[in-house]
Symmetry: C2
């Protein structure tokens, strides 16, 4: 028997057509710094201008299957590019304007970007790169900026508004295969070159539907969502696509990402929902404590990117009536991987462990845990393994650059049967709640078991004599790896390692206790403030640390 259903592709074009027609009155509200004059643009206008932009880009030589890049904040013009470029059959390449210059240059060349739409305010970042980017042909500048910075570049410079002015407000959007490339994002790997993920029309469409389900962000045409998460960061977690799909309005901060303006825009535009990394909300809470604003409209926030501290969740919940939904994801997962909705029937206090977990997987994300020996681990809430995922909005490879004939599938990122190896280590409860404990590269693989460096660090920092602590693996002939505890003491005197080990021994099994110890002045950190353990590993390998090895602990 055969299906009698219509065969209609799931495309960004369909989302655009739907949003501009059915939700034509919903808006992208772009912050300008002045609460009295945000820029408001309806989805009907966004749709018309996206068509004009497509005509303009076509004239600049952008063709189906080719990338067109953006180097922009969250604003209405970036939303226009989000729809114009994929709908014309080309590939939206969002450039991360927080990356170091050498990575940005690498990415632009790797993707073979010929056209870049840039906000005027980021030209000081872009201009110095251009001399080395000899394949970039056109820079389209949106919004105020010092275009004289571009004087002398080979690329032709266009004003965004002039490029689209007077062009037709409809475009003959081509019929597209739903598996065609729609958007390109690079992960900002802390080691090695960035890797490109090419989302398809299908993956974006399905992910956007998931965002709009009640179990995820539950947004509808009546809502306003403040998208703090940048459009250059995993497609703003899918919010622009989800917005035109279900008609909620987007409040876009443009370059005003400081806590003061964010509090102002929440007070003025009254979004019901917001999405951002925890540090943004941490700063917002401090801002509100110093200069209160009315943020009573804000009912729920999606927090992801890194784990949200319990204290922040409780402050938002108890002081401001803002419900936090914790979410886990990565560039390779579009990014929606889990959301922490507690199971039904619990008291508020019983809900906390679930709310603090990374949450449950939606049906679109199949999961498994792979243990130290490569076997699948049970979902019992205690057995740890590396999380591997599979699904229609999960990457199955990386982009090999112009000229590549298919995705690259490095064995450390993709399993032989095609699942994504997330590099995250954790446990899953019998009812499917994920709790992440470590990055796989930070776990100590000792005698066929895993020792959590994060757990050791957390316990050590609970000792009154320890200011900071980082734990890294060192090679061990018998066990494979053993933990090295690097301690920053509160006072400058001698550290009593045996006492610290005994302190850990009250909470951990003997085989988990570090025998190698060292004292450091501070834990080295990355530019975003994360522990940079590769520096510690390098110092240890170079013999640059004074390591004390204790005799086995007494039983």
């Amino acid at each position: 028997m055969f299906s009698t259903m219509q065969d209609v592709p799931l495309t960004v074009t369909r989302i655009l057509r739907h949003g501009q027609r059915i939700h034509g009155g919903s808006q992208v509200i772009t912050w300008t710094g002045d609460p009295a004059t945000p820029r408001r643009r309806t989805y009907a206008e966004i749709g018309a201008r996206a068509a004009q932009l497509a005509h303009g880009l076509r004239e600049l030589g952008v063709r189906p299957g080719q990338p067109a890049a953006t180097l922009m904040w969250n604003n209405a013009e970036h939303v226009e590019a989000y729809f114009a470029i994929p709908a014309m059959g080309s590939v939206l390449h969002t450039l991360n304007l927080r990356l170091p210059a050498h990575q940005l240059s690498f990415i632009i060349q790797h993707a073979d970007d010929r056209v870049i739409i840039a906000n005027g305010s980021v030209l000081p970042l872009l201009a110095p790169l251009l001399p080395a980017l000899d394949r970039v042909e056109h820079i389209v500048v949106s919004g105020p900026g010092d275009t004289s910075l571009l004087d002398g570049t080979r690329a032709r410079v266009h004003d965004y508004e002039e490029l689209i002015a007077g062009r037709p407000t409809t475009y003959p959007w081509p019929d597209l295969d739903e598996r065609a490339a729609a958007a390109l994002c690079y992960t900002s790997g802390t080691t090695g070159d960035p890797s490109g993920i090419v989302y398809s029309h299908r993956s974006i469409y399905l992910h956007s539907m998931q965002v709009n389900t009640a179990e995820s962000m539950a947004l509808t045409a009546g809502d306003v969502s403040l998208a703090v998460v940048p459009q250059f960061h995993v497609l703003s977690w899918g919010l622009p696509h989800a917005a035109l799909l279900s008609g909620f309005s987007l409040l876009m901060p443009d370059r005003f990402l400081q806590p003061g303006p964010l509090a102002d825009m929440i007070a003025a535009e009254r979004p019901r929902h917001a999405a951002a990394v925890p540090t943004i909300f941490q700063a917002l809470v401090h801002e509100l404590a110093e200069r209160p604003r009315d943020i009573s409209a804000l009912a729920s926030v999606t927090i992801g990117g890194s784990a949200c501290p319990e204290s922040l969740m409780r402050t938002l919940d108890e002081r401001y009536g803002v419900r936090v939904a914790h979410a886990w994801g990565m560039t390779e997962t579009s990014p929606l991987g889990t959301t922490s909705q507690p199971p039904p029937g619990l008291t508020p206090e019983e809900e906390w462990p679930y709310r603090l977990s990374q949450g449950r997987f939606p049906a679109g994300v199949e999961a498994r845990l792979i243990g130290p020996d490569g076997a699948e681990m049970p979902w019992d809430g205690t057995a740890a393994g590396e999380l591997e995922v599979r699904g229609p909005w999960i990457a199955g490879g990386y982009y090999g650059g112009a000229g590549a004939t298919g995705p690259e599938r490095p064995a450390d990122r993709f399993s032989p049967d095609g699942w994504l190896r997330t590099g995250d280590v954790g446990t899953i409860s019998p009812d499917g709640y994920l709790t992440l404990t470590d990055r796989a590269k930070d776990v100590i693989k000792s005698g066929g078991e895993w020792i959590s460096s994060v757990e050791l660090e957390g316990l050590l920092m609970g000792h009154p004599e320890v200011r900071e602590a980082a734990v890294v693996a060192v090679p061990d002939e018998r066990w494979g790896e053993r933990p090295l505890a690097c301690v920053v003491p509160v006072t400058t005197g001698e550290v009593d390692y045996a006492a610290l080990r005994a302190f850990l021994g009250e909470r951990l099994a003997r085989w988990q206790l570090p025998e190698h110890w060292t004292t450091i002045e501070e834990v080295p950190k990355t530019s975003v403030g994360k522990y940079d353990k590769k520096v510690l590993r390098a110092r240890q390998a170079a013999g640059d640390l004074t390591v004390t090895t204790l005799a086995p602990a007494p039983r």
Copy 2:
């Protein structure tokens, strides 16, 4: 550029696996008539039993691509069949136990059903059909019933529980193409033979995601939904699939569809949501007025199948705090076509026209209105046309029966470019709200314009002398068609047609006023109480009505 995303099919199997693992504790609650002892079965159990059922059906000869039929109420075993049959690659064929015997026989033969799973309580309906159904090989009986009714049939009779007992609780579910056939439903056309729609795994998956969006039914793992709408009626509007997708529990009435038991089960099991046709809720409201129950848990209901009277919506809303979402759909649309969520920012009273409309289209349902001359009509809230729809869960043809090589696409049901012609006539507002006014076959096509028979009937019945009125088209040499008003007067005397026409003339344009009039004793009705206009048209064609034709109305 190529996409680097994984290619993972959207299948019923994935929904089953997800539901049984992530939402293994959610339940199908089957009513037994006794509030103290409903049957509770978790999704983990449903999954295990679905595997056992698949083993059993395989032993009975059910093969991939072949149908296996159900003749069942809404209950746990029917949910098991919903997942077992498509996941094993076969096609779930839900038989409508309300159909007349000759239609049921036709459908079973047309689909070439060899295996039928039937509830014991419906054997009195099935048994008389079997002698003529010589290709049915197996009857699997679930639940109590008089199996002696099946004595002497050619088919082998099995007990459901005996068939599955002791079999493995896992099944090697095959990898399936998402466009493969998953389920088969026949429309109960009022004229002609029923037509079969074959849903694909893809269409069911996408439709289920839509059900779970916040703009549609917004159900999550914390909820219980009372699925009054039968599982044999457009897959219970997608609720069983949506339930395992997002983890809400299903409250299933089994054969207890009377208002008393429905009120009992709402009071006892406290569902937050329910879905049914308006008459069910009308009866429930009467029941509650006579014998009050606590239905305070019920917060929202989805009402479709036919238009919901405003009075019923207001009673549910104002007396019981139950919010009604009006929905439109048909078997050909899976069925979710529209849902009436009002736009934001309105007062409760301003919301009413939107709530009474059929609602807005989701992105998965593209719509257009085709006017009398075949041209697309504007979305201005006044121009009427036949609604045509397109999308990934919309039928593109009918099943031609065993041996057919592709879908049948009758020109009166499918446009040349593949859109479904719904047969419904209405208007669409600029912001996408659909208001249906007529069935296309009941519209009078006069001089390139459409005259709404429903509007004429409504106005006529507002006249104090008119008890009932039906308006049908009669052929007209000059105009194509003209309206014939068939009036049932309140008293038995002569009807003053000219006065009625003048009454209509206060509200309608001259060209819309009927010149042909007749008096009838009552309007003929179908078995479900709808006006049966084909009887009136036949009587008119046979010269069986005394028609008075008035001179043109004075200007």
